[in-house]
C-alpha cells in the first residue's frame, strides 16, 4: 500500500518542492558561510590586536590602535575610547575618530562616567580599580544594530587591551623608577664628589660626626679628654727667605704629605695647617692610648722628616721639625664665626691644654718632641724620656714640667 502523503502529488510539484527546499538550504548554507567568515574575521582581529598592541608601551598608542581595530571590525564611522583616572578624577587617556566636535567639548562629554554621546554600542574598559572607562562606537556603515555577539567580541577586545595597558603602565612605572634612580645616582655621585673634595678641608672627626648623624651632627663644643700635638718646621722663616714661595709650598706639601698617613694611622685628626705647622688632635675612650698615639705620631713625624731629607738630599736643605704634646681636657667642637655675609665654622680643641702643647712645641729643639708631665703620666715604659724639669712657658703663670723624647739614632 502506497503512503497517503504521497498520494495526489504530481512529480512536477515534488520537483518544485525539492527545488524550494534546495534553495532554502543553499541560502542557509550561504548565511552560515557568511557567519563563519565573519567569525574568522573576528578571530583574526583578536589575533592582530594582540600582535599589534602587545609590543606597544604607551597607553595612547594602545588606545589608538584598539580604536582602529574595533572601528574596522564593526564598520563604524565614529568611535571613542576613554580611560578615566577615578582617584584623581581626570581623563588618563583618550582616543577618538570620526567626530566633528572640538577636542575640548568631546573630552568633557567623554569624561563623564557614562559619556553623553549617542553611541550605538558602549562597552566598559577596566584596567584596574583606578583606571576605568569604555569603548563607544557609532552606527555601523551597514546600518545593522550591534548584536550580543558583537558586544561579546567587543568585551573580549576590551579585556585584551586592558591587559596591554596594565603592562604598558607597569613598563612606564619601571622606566620612571629607573629614571628617578639614575637621577638620584647622578646626585649621589655629585655629592660624593663634593664630599671627597670637602673632606680634604675637613678634620676626620667632623667627617665622622656628620656621617653618624647627617641631619644634626654633634658639632657643638663639649669638654673632652684629648692629646694635642703641635709640629712646626724649625727655621721656617730662613727657609722661606732662601727660595720662592711656590717652592716652599711644594716642599711643605711633600713633608706634610708624608706625615699625614702616619698621623691618620694613629687616629690623629689634623685640625689645621698654618704655613709651617700642624695641629693634631687625638681622642680615644682610653686617655692613655691617645697620649701614646700622640707621642708615637710625633716620633713618626720625626722619622718621616729624616727619611724625606735623605730622599731629597742634594735638592734642598734638610729640615727639622720641633714638636710639642700635651694631654688633658679641652673644649672640642665647632668654633662658629658668624657674620652678616656668612658663617664659618672651624672644628678645634681650645683651652689651656692646647695652649701648653703649642708652647711646648716652641720649646722643643729641632728633631725632638717635648711633652708635658700630664702626657708623661699616661705613658708606659714604651718611650725613652728625658726629664727637662719645670719650664717657664710664655703667658703661663706657673712653670710646666716637661720631658723630651727623641728619635733613636739610626742603628
Amino acid at each position: 500500500m502506497k503512503p497517503k502523503a504521497r498520494a495526489g502529488r504530481t512529480p512536477a510539484k515534488r520537483v518544485a518542492r525539492l527545488k524550494a527546499l534546495y534553495e532554502q538550504r543553499l541560502e542557509e548554507a550561504g548565511r552560515a558561510q557568511q557567519e563563519l567568515e565573519k567569525r574568522v574575521f573576528h578571530l583574526k582581529t583578536l589575533y592582530d590586536l594582540s600582535r599589534e598592541i602587545g609590543g606597544l608601551i604607551g597607553t595612547d598608542a594602545i588606545l589608538g590602535n584598539l580604536l582602529m581595530m574595533v572601528m574596522g571590525t564593526f564598520g563604524a564611522e565614529r568611535g571613542l575610547i576613554v580611560l578615566r583616572d577615578l582617584r584623581e578624577n581626570r581623563i588618563d587617556a583618550m582616543a577618538q575618530r570620526g567626530f566633528d566636535q572640538d577636542p575640548a567639548s568631546l573630552a568633557a562629554a567623554a569624561g563623564e562616567p557614562l559619556p553623553s554621546i549617542d553611541f550605538h554600542a558602549w562597552i566598559p574598559l577596566e584596567v584596574d580599580e583606578r583606571l576605568k572607562g569604555g569603548i563607544g562606537l557609532g552606527e555601523k556603515l551597514t546600518g545593522e544594530p550591534y548584536t550580543p555577539d558583537d558586544a561579546e567580541l567587543l568585551l573580549t577586545l576590551s579585556h585584551q587591551a586592558a591587559v596591554a595597558i596594565r603592562n604598558a603602565k607597569a613598563h612606564e612605572e619601571v622606566v620612571r623608577t629607573a629614571e628617578e634612580l639614575a637621577a638620584s645616582l647622578r646626585r649621589i655621585q655629585l655629592l660624593e664628589s663634593m664630599k671627597a673634595s670637602l673632606a680634604k678641608f675637613v678634620p676626620k672627626r667632623v667627617h665622622d660626626l656628620i656621617e653618624e648623624s647627617p641631619e644634626a651632627p654633634l658639632l657643638d663644643k663639649r669638654e673632652a679628654d684629648v692629646s694635642v700635638l703641635f709640629a712646626d718646621i724649625t727655621g721656617y722663616s730662613r727657609l722661606s727667605a732662601s727660595m720662592t714661595l711656590e717652592r716652599v709650598n711644594q716642599l711643605v706639601e711633600v713633608y706634610f704629605g708624608a706625615f699625614l698617613d702616619e698621623i691618620l694611622k694613629l687616629g690623629g685628626d689634623v685640625n689645621e695647617t698654618a704655613g709651617d705647622g700642624l695641629m693634631v688632635i687625638f681622642q680615644d675612650g682610653d686617655p692613655r692610648r691617645h697620649a701614646a698615639c700622640a707621642v708615637r705620631a710625633g716620633l713618626a713625624i720625626l722619622r718621616k722628616t729624616r727619611d724625606t731629607n735623605a730622599t731629597l738630599e742634594g735638592f734642598c736643605e734638610p729640615i727639622t721639625m720641633h714638636i710639642g704634646v700635651n694631654s688633658g681636657t679641652a673644649a672640642v667642637g665647632a668654633t662658629k664665626i658668624e657674620g652678616a655675609a656668612g658663617t664659618r665654622w672651624t672644628y678645634t680643641a681650645s683651652g689651656p691644654t692646647t695652649n701648653i702643647a703649642a708652647r711646648l712645641a716652641a720649646l722643643a729643639e729641632g728633631g725632638c718632641i717635648v711633652l708635658s708631665e700630664e702626657t708623661r703620666r699616661r705613658l708606659g715604659e714604651e718611650f725613652a724620656l728625658e726629664d727637662l724639669g719645670p719650664q717657664s712657658l710664655k703667658n703661663l703663670a706657673h712653670p710646666v714640667r716637661a720631658f723630651r723624647c727623641s728619635l733613636p739614632a739610626d742603628p
Binding site: 582581529t45 592582530d48 589608538g64 572601528m71 574596522g72 555601523k140 556603515l141
Partner: protein
C-alpha cells in the same frame, strides 16, 4: 606619479588612482590617508583605490579606509576600489564599506564605470 613606501598615486584621465601594496594596518594605513589628502588637495573628484593581489588588510586598515570613504562622502568625491581578492571583497561587504565605495574586478572595469558615470 608620487610614491611613499608601499603607496603611490597616479592620474589616469580625470581619475586619481592610489596604488596600495603590502600590509594595510592602522599604522601603515597612514600612508594611504596621506595619499588621499594629497590628491584631495589637488582637487581629485574621482578616486580609485587600487589594491595589489598580495595586499593584506586588517581591521585597523579597514578603519583607515572607512575614514577616507567618510571624508570623500562629505566632500562629494566618488571612491571606487579594485584589485581586491574575493576574501577581502566579502570582508568589505560585511563591514558595509562597499555601500559607499563600489568594488570592481579590475582597474579597467573601474575606469570604465567612472567614464560611463561621467
Amino acid at each position: 606619479m608620487t610614491a611613499s613606501g608601499e603607496i603611490s598615486t597616479r592620474l589616469k584621465g580625470d581619475v586619481s588612482i592610489i596604488d596600495i601594496r603590502g600590509e594595510v594596518t592602522a599604522v601603515s594605513g597612514q600612508g594611504i590617508e596621506q595619499a588621499y589628502q594629497g590628491i584631495s588637495a589637488a582637487g581629485a573628484a574621482k578616486i580609485l583605490m587600487m589594491f595589489s593581489a598580495e595586499c593584506y588588510i586588517n581591521s585597523g586598515g579597514i578603519a583607515v579606509l572607512i575614514g577616507i570613504v567618510s571624508q570623500a562622502r562629505k566632500k562629494g568625491q566618488t571612491v571606487r576600489m579594485a584589485g581586491l581578492t574575493p576574501h577581502f571583497q566579502k570582508i568589505f561587504a560585511m563591514v558595509g564599506l562597499t555601500r559607499y565605495a563600489q568594488v570592481h574586478p579590475s582597474e579597467e572595469a573601474a575606469l570604465a564605470v567612472f567614464k560611463g558615470a561621467g
